[in-house]
Structures are given as structure tokens and as C-alpha cells.
Symmetry: D2
Subunit: 343 residues, 4 copies
Amino acid sequence: MIRAGIVGGTGYTGVELLRILALHSEVEVTVVTSRADAGVRVDALYPSLRGSIDVEFSLPEVETLAECDVVFFATPNGTAMLMAEQLLARGVKVIDLSADFRLKDAKEWSKWYGMEHACADLIAEAVYGLPEVNREAIRKANLIACPGCYPTAVQLGFFPLLENDLIDVKHLIADVKSGVSGAGRKAELATLMSETGESFKAYAVSGHRHLPEISQGLELVAGKSVGLTFVPHLTPMIRGIHATLYGQVAGSLDDVQALYEKRYANEAFVDVLPQGSHPDTRNVRGSNNCQISIHQPQSGHTIVVLSVIDNLVKGAAGQAVQNMNLMFGLKEDLGLKTIALYP
Amino acid sequence: MIRAGIVGGTGYTGVELLRILALHSEVEVTVVTSRADAGVRVDALYPSLRGSIDVEFSLPEVETLAECDVVFFATPNGTAMLMAEQLLARGVKVIDLSADFRLKDAKEWSKWYGMEHACADLIAEAVYGLPEVNREAIRKANLIACPGCYPTAVQLGFFPLLENDLIDVKHLIADVKSGVSGAGRKAELATLMSETGESFKAYAVSGHRHLPEISQGLELVAGKSVGLTFVPHLTPMIRGIHATLYGQVAGSLDDVQALYEKRYANEAFVDVLPQGSHPDTRNVRGSNNCQISIHQPQSGHTIVVLSVIDNLVKGAAGQAVQNMNLMFGLKEDLGLKTIALYP
Amino acid sequence: MIRAGIVGGTGYTGVELLRILALHSEVEVTVVTSRADAGVRVDALYPSLRGSIDVEFSLPEVETLAECDVVFFATPNGTAMLMAEQLLARGVKVIDLSADFRLKDAKEWSKWYGMEHACADLIAEAVYGLPEVNREAIRKANLIACPGCYPTAVQLGFFPLLENDLIDVKHLIADVKSGVSGAGRKAELATLMSETGESFKAYAVSGHRHLPEISQGLELVAGKSVGLTFVPHLTPMIRGIHATLYGQVAGSLDDVQALYEKRYANEAFVDVLPQGSHPDTRNVRGSNNCQISIHQPQSGHTIVVLSVIDNLVKGAAGQAVQNMNLMFGLKEDLGLKTIALYP
Amino acid sequence: MIRAGIVGGTGYTGVELLRILALHSEVEVTVVTSRADAGVRVDALYPSLRGSIDVEFSLPEVETLAECDVVFFATPNGTAMLMAEQLLARGVKVIDLSADFRLKDAKEWSKWYGMEHACADLIAEAVYGLPEVNREAIRKANLIACPGCYPTAVQLGFFPLLENDLIDVKHLIADVKSGVSGAGRKAELATLMSETGESFKAYAVSGHRHLPEISQGLELVAGKSVGLTFVPHLTPMIRGIHATLYGQVAGSLDDVQALYEKRYANEAFVDVLPQGSHPDTRNVRGSNNCQISIHQPQSGHTIVVLSVIDNLVKGAAGQAVQNMNLMFGLKEDLGLKTIALYP
């Protein structure tokens, strides 16, 4: 059994990790930390876990965590970078669900995240945990930087076009809509039900932290710099991300459809829908799947790619476990074969 | 492997059965019927099932269904009673999720359901599929009448008090709130999102079909007739039932709490929360659990029992599979150990 | 023109007062206070008010407020009691939407609200602002204690039965469901959309602050002590309260229906629906109306009264303006004749 | 008083017209038709209108409607074109909220709406009822084709750039999100709460009926053909449209912001928000306002215009009344000065 620890177990990605790992046949969750709730039973805070997890929250201490085989950081940005080095030194694999190791350029990171990077040396070693492009590197990695939720949906949607140089990379548009759980479990006015229910809005149009991460990922695959306009929106639901991607493409819809199907044929968690489909976020709710469809309105040059994920699963905890499975030589979909909750 | 058939696979309880059975280690779903969608792939209608179910909808024919070991009826009322006898004669076990065999009095049934009962002879043989009171009978049954969603939440909430004769059975009140999926997957004005979103109302206060079913169940356990006022409400969410039960009880809250804990100590799917708790429907969403808490406001004689379930799982498909497990000698919780989706 | 001030203009009841008063033909809002946002334009914080309100938030100072004819307190509990006396002394009428002057017993108030009452002398002078029972007193009042949202829905539902001594006052039950805006505009985990969306729960079953207020109101009308069990619930919507009231009544449904219709025949804001109706909270959303219907399931002795209001209008800001209209000799429904927003 | 008739009073735009007209000081609603509900009181079907409308639904007959000064068609497509000519011949002004007279090309209309146009002669006479570009023509019109909801939000968002030839018209993108009330009040599976709640999806990406209407409007203003990609989405809320518009613009954000502010300075219902704002659909819910903001991410050439309306008000009934006010020489905002319902 893999002994797993979770640092920051009280946020939504932490609880989602617990939901997945509690039923994972090869994992035992031995440590779940929370500064605020140390000493409290995990299932007292999260009654949905009663009967599934028999652990108390503890303080986040290296000594305790070092007894794990793998430690997940489900913490706010700026925490993993303070502890990762010590854990790696003790032979613990580290999977960071926060943004600390996602950007390869520490200065860029500091600019977007508003703090100095405390552990820039490790950035080069960190593997960006998107198995669909980095599978082999992930297998050998000790430190994983799990992609953000928006970046996962957008990159999986754009990759086949970029890999085949079929799209005008200067004018990419990603109009993306997220459920409110993406904002995390924090006491904030902006995400009260009275503020977000029955309403829809864009936010951070001038620049969202996921923009440099997406650009970095797209550029790596494209092999050149890209021009991306990324507009995130808040939609009145709890889970789900829907990316609507636009670009100029030469080529028929049939060809592009065939390309996507081939590209993702062996990917367990990326599913290209038949032509004419419109993916619905509910069809991936609670599952680790990404569903994609491609359209070419009025047979013009503008391609429209629709890509949906559950932000807490493929966009966070599920992808983290997918990485863990690869790192430990397990079947990639172990513990992740759940079916979306419909309706 | 148990070969399972589902008659009426396009409604919400049908899809929910598919979600559960697709991952059940001892079951293979071999037949899923739908008159309207015969010939269509199941996962074409329900993309959430892509990769999990490789079956087409077929017409509901006895010949085909007779090759199954068990057939679930996830049909509107009035269908199972037309086919059950033939299937039973062929040695197929039948689990009916509709109301056809729930009431022991055929005349009463006709009054509430507005049609003649086509198969009254079988009523006596049918076992009411609430394992928490009928476990042994279920193990030996060939025909199961799965309880309704409201009746499940209300009966589990009232049973310990009735079994111990601690409550004034003349004045029971069940104020129950349901998500809209309880109304089924039918094209109806009343359950449009524009009609039910952001709004709350009671309905059928003068008499709901689940009233005689609940009364029958309570009376069986109490050993005498009961006076029940049952008021169902529609709440703007998709899944979940919350029953708030009121009655006059002599005895301290501590005693009642202890009684409930003891009564359900060995039940895998009924969970009595610590004193002072308030169960939340989200904590059982997607799971087969019932969570219960007990209150005695102002230390008076009025007891308040709160009981929550997911109407499509413990209130329908999950309970049906729990029954199946018992009927086939499997572990009762096989395929049902999922954790609620939070948030 | 009546010069009106609002203390605490940034909460939901404050904004709702602004929405109503901005269109009131006899009122000019001259002062809106907020400690946190002093100096900010009101419509910068609330873009829905752009073009309707041309005022900046100011600090809550008696000097400024004393220039108003009426001051509304839309503040947390414990604020109005600190300023009311000075304003009254300057000839300003005070309408308190918080709980400070609702309970006639200062000790009881302290017990439920967890602080000493700073101005107990004024309690006797304060008129409970429920026009349907206190209209004449309100006309002459200088200090109004606006009822809470739950108490408004419950009292209007029970009054006719209590006034006519038709109900067993020992065993009243009020099972009440509220939208989340009732919790106010505060950064709190419990009312995040991720916490309250798609879920339903009871809370404060052991005792909610509105219990003594409701009991006081019912007892005043009944002329004797009452036994009330009050269970509040949180429902996943923003606005609306639905009270389901239970009691033992001797008398036919026809008689009770006639009684309610007569009792409220001249009330502009209380509407008794035809027999067989089920009021829906959306039908009063954004309006000052209370809609009521009465049922007698299975023709038994248990009466079920359904009563719905918009918690922010008839349960707060609308009722406050209704009081203001009475205090200033205006038509009672002036500025309040809006129609609910459906769908 | 203007005598107004509404044909098709049972849909959402019909009820919304009733909500607005019932409080309009210069209008008396004398006829409301419904084939299905003829003889039923309007407020029996819509209890939110109790006390505000004292009319029964009647059959849609020219004789009765001819006694009105103005008739609104809130009907499915294909109805107004059958009755408009007769009403106009009797001197009745006609305001059509359906699509019958929106497209100037009858063949194009037939292609998108799947039926022959029954009254193509009238198309030329019909004035497209978008006051912000057609005010003078509307004043003199007898037949108004009210714009669709999507077209209103998109056109108001693009107009200033097109009028000033500042945008590359070949590559316009409109990514638009609508609440479900836009689908109308019809018993359909697709808009059940269980199908649309807690989920987000695009639809009709290959071609939506509003596409030719939007293109026609944009081209008229641009004076040349435009290339538009229009992707509509369904968002889990009842009311509201949020358009996110993309285009290539030469010019600084300051200049564009100033241009928009100037263009709409005298428009009562179009409100350009300060730079940096993100309009929220709730801030126009229930009001006739359109709120717009402009962004230029990373100071690049891509402009992002955000435009929100309430689909049932500025996108339908409110705009229809705005047209009526102009046609009858009334103040343009009469009866339309409501403030959005927040929260």
C-alpha cells in the first residue's frame, strides 16, 4: 500500500483527493494536515466521508509527512515551495496541486503570484503533470506540478491543432466558463450563493494567472510563441469547466475530427465526441474525463473546439491521482474509473 | 457474473442503475430496453456512460429479458405488473423500482394510482425492499417492490421510535423536501428549470401517492394504525430528499439518541449523526447512505428527526442494487461503496 | 419629500431599501452610511443602482442623520440600540430592521442575542412593525421594530386561527424554509454557493433567535402562552421564505378558508389563495406580498397552512417602507406595487 | 389610455409584457389571448399577477384584437405573419416579439425558420425595433419586428466599433451565454431543471437562427458584409444574457472606451461601465438595461466587449414596450424605470 499524505486537506481539492483516495485499492491515506483544524476528525468536518476515512487532521510537519510515500499539496499558492525540498530529500514523492512549480520562469511566476519564489532551484526538476503530453517524464518524476483547471481544459482542446501546425497561433481565443468551486473554499463575499447564483459574469479579463501557464504549455507543443486571448467566466454552478476555443484553421472539419480522434485514441481520460456533439459539463461531473467536440460553423476557417472537464477532478484531484498512478507504476486509471453523476 | 436487464433504461432511475451496475464487479448489464430509443446506443443518449456501457437499447420483450438472471423495472407505474409474472415463471428475479407491488391492498393501489391492478395475485409474494426491516425476506425473494424515495427517508427516520412504542402514533408529521429529479425525466412544464429554479413550494398536500405506502410501512412496524400528515415539497436542486419528522415522545434526547445509534449500528447505509448535527443532502449525494439526526427543541416533548437520502440512490437505484446483492447472496454493499460528491 | 437615511447600506436589506426607495415618489434618500465604504459611490458598489441613486456612502454620524425625517437601520443586531435614542430626541423617526427592539423582555433579548441591551428604556416605546396587527399603533409610532423574516411568514399564517381560538396552541409546528440571502451579505463559508447550492438542510433546530419573537407575537394575539416548535431550513435559492404550519383545528376546511379570506380581505399585501392552491415563493419574489393557502389533508384535524414571502421585501425592506408609509400618513402601498419577477 | 392586446399571453415573454404593462401608467391591457387557456383568468395561471390584471384569456380573434390600439405578438414564430396584415388594415399598431419580420430577405427567413413566409409583402414595411439605431423610424412605424435576445446583446456591443470602422469585420466572434428562459415555456426534456441545472454547454454551434439576424444588423451599420462566428451557450440560470465579443481593433483602450461612452451617452437603457468593470447579468435582471464594458487584454489588438441584458426585458418584453412608447409619442422610459433585483 502506498502511504499518502495530504497537506491542506480542508479545501475542495483536498476533500476531493480524500474522496478518490479513500476508495483507491493501492493507497492508504495516513496523514491529512490542517493548521486550523488539527485534532479534529476529518469526517467531523466532512460528514460525506463518514465510514470512509478514519484520520484526524494534524499539523503540517515534515517529520510526519516524511513517513509517507507520496505527499499531495492541496494548499494555497506559496506553501508547497516551502516544504517540497525537505520531503524530496527524504525520498518522498511530491505532487503539488497548487501553482508553485507550474511556470518554468521564476520571475514570471513572481509577477503573476505576487511573491518571491522560495524554491526556484526545484522548478527545473518539476514535471508538469499533464499525462497526455508528459507521460514518460511523469513516470520518472519525483516532483509534479499539477496543471490548473483552466489550463487542462484549454490545452487538451488545442493540442492536436498545435502539434500539427494547423492553426494560426497568433490569434487563439479561449472563452472559458467555470463553476464556483474553482474559487476554493474560502470565506469571501464574491462567491456567496447570493452573489453568484442566478448570475453570470466574466472576470480578470485583463489578465488571469492561468494565462502564462496556458501560453507556456501551448508554446511548448507548438514550438513557437502564441498569441492567446483568455477570458474566464464564473457560471452559477458548483463543478465544471467549459472551454470554447476559437482559431483560424485551414482544413476540413472531417480532417480535424479524424486528427483529434487519432490523437486521443489511447487516452483513457480524453474522449472525442462524434461530429455534431456538444459536450455538457454534467457528463464529466465527478469523473476524471475530458470530453471534446469540434465544430466549423458555416464551413468557414474558424474552428470551434468545445472542451469540458470537472475542475476538481481532471482539473485537480483526479489528475493528481492519475500522476500518482504513473509515478508508482500502477495502472493509470486505477481508482479513477468513476462515472459522472447524471442528472 | 449476474446478467442484468433494465426495462425502461432512459429515465433517471434507469440511468442511475446503469451508473451503479456498470462498475459492479459481479454484474454484466446485458439488456436495456426503451421503446422510444430502440436501436440507439445507450451511451449516445447518455454520454456520461461512454466507455462504461457497450449496449444498445432494445424493445422490451420477454424472450430477451428471460435470458437475464435479474430484471430491474425502472418504468412508469403500470408496466412491471404486465411483465413480472412471465419473467418470474422463467426463473428470472424481478426488482421493481416502480410502485406496482408496493401496496398490499390492490384496491387501495387502484385508488391512488388510477388504474386497475393487472397482477394482484403477485402482490402477496412481493417483498417490500427495505433491507433495514425486511433483510431476511429479501434474501429469499424473487420479486421485490422497491420503496419510493419519500417512504425510504420517512420510514428510516421513524422506525426506532415506532418499534419501541415511544411515540404518539396518532399525530405523526412528515414535512419532506425533494429535489426535482424525483419527478422523473418527462417533458413537463412543471419541472422546467424556469419553473422550479430559484423557487420553493409544497404540492399534493391533500394527498400524495406515497402517503399510503408510508402509512403501511409505519403501521407494520408499529403494530397499530397511525395518523400521518405528509407534506411533500419541491426544492430547487436536482438530487436529494430531506425529511423533517415531528412527533410527541416521552423520553430524553439522550435515550432516543442511544436508541437510534443502537438500532442502526450494523446497518451499512444508515448513519446516525452525533447529537447536535444537521444532516445535509449533499453529504449523501450520489451515495446510498441515509444520514439521520435527532433533536428535541427546548427539551420539550416534540421530537424532531432529520433524515436525508439521495432520492435516486437510496431512494431508488442504489436500494435496488442493495436488494439484488441480498437476493444473490453477495456482500450487501458490493458496488455501493461510493462516497458522496462534495461540494 | 421625505428625507430618508439608511444606516448600514451595504447589506442585502440595505440595498433592497435603496431599490424600493429610489423609485418611491415621496422619498429622497439623502444619507446612506457604511463604515467600510465611506466615500465610495453607492452605485459603484451596486451597479444595479446606476442611474437611480446619486449618493456616496458616508460614516454613520448622528449629526448627518439628524437631518433626515426618517432613518432606517439595516445594520447587524446591536447597532440601532446605540443610536436610536439620540435620533428620536432630534425628532427623527426610526425604523429598525434589525432585532434590537423586537423582544419586549430585555433579559430574554440578552439571552438570545448574546449581549446586554444598551437601550432597554426604549423597548416599551417601540412598536412591532407588523401592520396587519399593529396598524394604528404604527401610524403614531416614532420607533418601529421591523419583524424578522421568519416571524412575518409564520405569524401571518397563524393569526386567523389564533385570533378565533380555533387551534390547539400547545402544539404548533412551523417548518420553515429560507433562501440564503436571509443569512446576509457576510463573508462566511457556510453560505458559499459551493456549500449551499444543490443541497438542503435544517439548522439551529435546538433554538433559533426568531423563536422567542414568533412566540411573543403569537401569544399576544392568542391571549395565552403557546407551545411552538420552529425548525428553520436553508434551501438552495437566493430569495424567498416558505412556511409550512401545522396545528390541530376543529372545524371544516371551508370554514377556515372563509375565515382567512375575511381576515385578510382588506390587506393589500396578504393574499389568500383559492382552496387547493400551493403558493410558490417565486410568485412573491421581489414583491411585498404574502400569499397563503390552507389545506386539511384527509379531512382530518390537522390543518396545514402554507405561507410565502420574499424575505428581503415583506420580510425586511418592503415591510419597513410599508411602516414608513403609515407613519407619514401616505398611502400604505405607495412605492410597493411591484409585481413578482416570474420566471 | 392605450388599449393593448397580447397574442400568446402564456409564454414567458407574454407574462413579462403583462408584468410591465400592468404598471404602465398609459396602458390598459384589454385582451390577452391563449388558445389553450381561453376562459381562464390570467392570474389563475400566473398568481404573481393577482391584484394587477383583471382579464381572462380569450381566443385570438381579429375582431377582438382590432379594438386595441396596439397588439403585441408574444407567439411562436409563424403566427404574427398570419394576423398582422388584417390588424394593420384596421389601424392597429403591431409589435411582433417573434422572428417573423426580423429578416429582410424572405428566402433567408424560410431557410432558417423552416416554413414559407406567409406575408412577405409586409417585411419591407416592418421596422427593426432596436431604438438605439432605429429610433426615428420606430416613431413612425406601424409594424415593429422586435429584435431577438442574442441579437440585442451582440449588436449593442459591436455597434460603436462598426459605426466607426475600427474593427476587422471579417473575424468577429460572439461567444454568448443565455439563461434557460430564453428557450421559452414549453414542455421539453432539454430544459428540465434536472437537465440544465448544475451544467453548462454550447448548442447549435453549426448555426443558430439568430446568426442571420445579427449579421444583417451588423452589416447595415458597417455598410459592408461581415464574417461572424456566433456560439450560443446554455447557462444554469433562468434570466440573463452575457455576450463576450472578440475582434481585432487598432486603437487604444482609452479611445475605445471614450467612443462607447459618447455613443451611448444619451441612451437611457445602454450603460457603459467604467474601465476595468465586468458586468454581471444580475445587475440587469428584471430591468431594461444593457450594461457594457470594454477590455483590451495585454494591451494587444484583440478587443473584448462584455455586454449583458435580461433576455426577457431588453431582449424581449421591455424592448417591445420601449418601442411602443416611441410609437405613441410617450417618454421612452415610461413604465421601464425598474431597478434590477439584487441579490
